[in-house]
């Protein structure tokens, strides 16, 4: 099984290096095919590992030493257990699909080879992240996905907005990574190791306050990667990257790494329920907060990105409340339908020549039947309608909130579920229904390549049926995660809740359809709604990006300039030069003594004589005085 592990892990790396070999040369189809093939290999290996793990075994290998000094010992160790294998499956499935899809999507791009190099490198990093058996290895993957995300967001490097977004994403993540790093330091100095098994065995013996700090710092790391408030702004901006990237990185895998971390570190978070409550509250807040921004946005990809953010909030609610397996389940289900949604959006973008405003589309269902069906179904899944995947995972989270008696969280999540349904179908309605507004802009949309649609189909299937794996999944992961079942007490309450939720969501969908399916004009910012305070607030993302720009970015640049021009040059360096100048000027001024005039020299001689003799006398007197 170790062989499969290594294949699953390194096949993407090989693909990446292969693509990198051709990085500088113009597009070559084989690069995409080879990379996708290797990804598929990785997927097959993961599937084999899954079947092995289903048999109740786990694989744990230690490839080689990485860092060993003092008491610190960090190996390159990999573990395939019930949790990581789920993640591996998610990552490999989605990335295989995205790779194949990208062959079509990036067809006309100059950087075709480079794209595959980055994309495969990302998968490799992600695999390292999920398979590592220690926190340092996790951190390698953690930073690795950050790097690849940087490269892929800024893939079209000639675009200012893309490179800006790339840097923003990287730096925001770095801020969070510092928290994570500190968490790792704390773990090491308190448990003496970074191996999961050792740490989790030791963690119970630590003082609660230390555990709390560890939990907080690790969660700060998770907040960055999973774009939780207040580090959320990068995710929406990251949509500058090519759409497959958004599907893979900013929906299905990387952003869920934070959830994975919390799930993985569940023995720590089990000990600190207070931090858990905080995580859950933040998650609920982000769920609502992001959904609200999605309501008014007019950028197709950003809407989906906010929805991702919102769903991540759901996952954190589950993880924070201790329902780790639920969080992981939602992570999985979400990965499938959200990736599908993004890829569909990619098709639309291609058709619309990179137009992103859904108000400029409309009626596309006639030309893009396949995409229309897929996106609709994905939206249904996202909204959580029975029997789609979203229903099983999302409703479960609502139940968790209810059962754990966090009714506020429950209410917020319920409300968010409605909003989710609304904005998802607002999008679908605007894109696929109504009048063909795109004609105003002289666009001739066309359906994507067939094979792209075929490539997307596994995701579609999974988005529909993933819910049915619930019990198998439950049995699998609960051998590692706490196996709490969340059942609402009382049959009646359960049914009322479930059906009520469904009705609420369906109502939201119907409302969205009613409002937008017959839309016939492109808003120009003059309507009453668009000028209302609430709309503006949401439109400007609560002014948070502006706030960051004004409060952090600009002052930092200003401060840096001051540090350089005022402090470094005018104070520090000027002091040094000042000292040198004093010495130089002293010499310059005292050289008049050496004016060559013997008479003056004689005078100086006499002065020197007087001084010396005075000193001699003074010291003699002083010495005698002391001696006496």
């Amino acid at each position: 099984m170790e062989l499969y592990l290594y294949i699953a892990l390194f096949a993407p790396l090989v693909g990446s290096l292969y693509a990198a070999l051709f990085g500088g040369s113009p597009k070559s189809q084989h690069v995409g095919i080879v990379a996708s093939g290797l990804l598929f290999t990785s997927f097959v290996s993961s599937a084999l590992l899954l079947s092995y793990v289903l048999g109740g075994h786990t694989v744990h290998v230690e490839m080689m030493t990485w860092i060993a000094t003092g008491d610190l010992y960090i190996p390159f160790g990999f573990v395939v257990d019930q949790v990581s294998v789920v993640m591996m499956m998610v990552v490999t499935i989605v990335s295989t699909v995205v790779h194949i899809y990208s062959i079509g999507y990036m067809d006309h791009d100059k950087g075709f080879n480079r794209f595959f190099s980055w994309l495969s490198a990302f998968v490799f990093s992600m695999m390292v992240l999920v398979m590592s058996d220690n926190f340092a290895g996790l951190f390698i993957g953690w930073e690795g996905v950050g790097l690849c995300s940087w490269g892929l967001i800024g893939f079209w490097y000639h675009k200012e907005s893309a490179t800006w977004a790339a840097n923003e994403a990287f730096i925001m993540n770095r801020i969070a990574d510092l928290g994570m790093l500190i968490g790792i330091f704390l773990l090491y100095w308190n448990t003496g190791s970074l191996q999961y098994d050792v740490v989790f065995a030791e963690i119970g013996n630590l003082p609660l306050v230390v555990t709390t700090w560890i939990g907080i710092f690790l969660f700060i790391g998770a907040m960055g990667k999973s774009a939780q408030f207040p580090l959320h702004t990068w995710l929406a901006d990251a949509m500058e990257g090519p759409t497959p990237v958004s599907a893979l990185i900013h929906a299905a895998t990387m952003v869920t790494a934070g959830v994975y971390l919390v799930v993985r570190a569940n023995p720590i978070y089990d000990l600190i329920p207070n931090v858990g409550i905080f995580i859950a509250s933040l998650g609920a807040f982000v769920a609502l907060f992001a959904a609200s921004m999605a309501l008014v946005n007019r950028d197709m990809k950003r809407i989906i990105a906010y929805s991702t953010l919102s769903q991540l909030g759901y996952m954190f609610v589950a993880a924070g409340l201790g329902a780790y397996w639920v969080a992981l389940f939602h992570l999985m289900a979400h990965a499938f339908f959200k990736a599908l949604l993004f890829l569909g959006a990619g098709n639309v973008m291609h058709a619309m020549h990179d137009e992103l405003d859904p108000f400029k589309m409309g009626g596309l269902r006639k030309v893009m039947k396949g995409t229309f069906i897929m996106m609709t179904l994905a939206s249904v899944a996202l909204a959580g309608i029975y029997p789609f995947a979203g229903f099983f995972s999302k409703d479960l989270i609502l139940e968790v909130g209810f059962v754990e008696h966090h009714y506020v969280i429950y209410t917020v999540l319920l409300l968010t579920a409605g909003l989710t349904a609304f904005y998802s179908f607002r999008l679908v309605a605007l894109i696929f229904h109504g009048e063909e507004r795109y004609k105003l802009f002289g666009i001739h949309p066309h359906e994507a390549y067939k094979f792209m649609l075929v490539a997307m189909s596994p995701l579609l299937v999974l988005a529909i049926i993933a819910g049915s794996f619930k019990m198998t999944y439950y049995q699998l992961v609960t051998s590692l995660l706490p196996s709490t079942q969340y059942h609402v007490h009382g049959e009646m309450t359960y049914w009322i809740m479930t059906i009520g939720t469904q009705l609420f969501v369906i109502a939201a969908i119907v409302f969205a359809y009613k409002k937008y399916s017959n839309w016939n004009s492109v808003p120009d910012g003059s309507s009453k709604l668009e000028n209302s305070f609430g709309y503006k607030l949401l439109w400007n993302q609560y002014y948070i990006p502006k706030f960051y720009d004004e409060v952090f970015s600009k002052p930092y640049l200003e401060l840096s300039k001051i540090a350089w021009k005022q402090i470094d040059l005018k104070i520090v360096d000027a002091t040094v030069d000042g000292i040198a100048n004093i010495i130089y000027k002293t010499g310059e001024n005292t050289r008049d003594i050496q004016n060559g005039n013997l008479s003056t020299m004689l005078r100086w001689m006499v002065i020197g004589l007087v001084v010396l003799i005075t000193l001699a006398v003074a010291f003699t007197v002083g010495y005698n005085a002391v001696g006496a």
Binding site: I593, Q594, N595, G596, N597, S599, L602
Partner: protein, 101 residues
């Protein structure tokens, strides 16, 4: 009213001061030499006086050697002075600034 060592030393001091003033005041090289002679003589008095009051001949010896030095100094100094005068036609200190730094 006995003359003590202090009297001599005070006298020596006065003469030395005169000499020093001369050294500093004079710009004419020849006059400067005169002033140095005064300095030497001032110390000579002190040496002789101390020698007398201590009852030791060493002081006189020193004075003796000082006289010898003074004599050779004059010989060499005057020689140099004459050479300088021949070259420049001046023996003014203020104009000897070839050692300007």
């Amino acid at each position: 009213m006995e003359i003590t060592l202090s009297h001599y030393l005070v006298l020596s001091t006065i003469l030395f001061a005169i000499g020093l003033v001369g050294v500093m005041r004079r710009k004419n090289l020849l006059m400067l030499f005169f002033a140095t002679e005064i300095l030497l003589n001032a110390t000579n008095i002190a040496f002789a006086a101390i020698s007398h009051y201590i009852g030791d001949l060493s002081g006189q010896m020193f004075a003796f050697f000082i006289i010898a030095i003074a004599a050779s100094e004059v010989a060499i100094g005057l020689g140099l002075l004459i050479v300088w005068y021949k070259r420049t036609g001046k023996i003014d200190l203020d104009q000897m600034n070839s050692m300007r730094g």
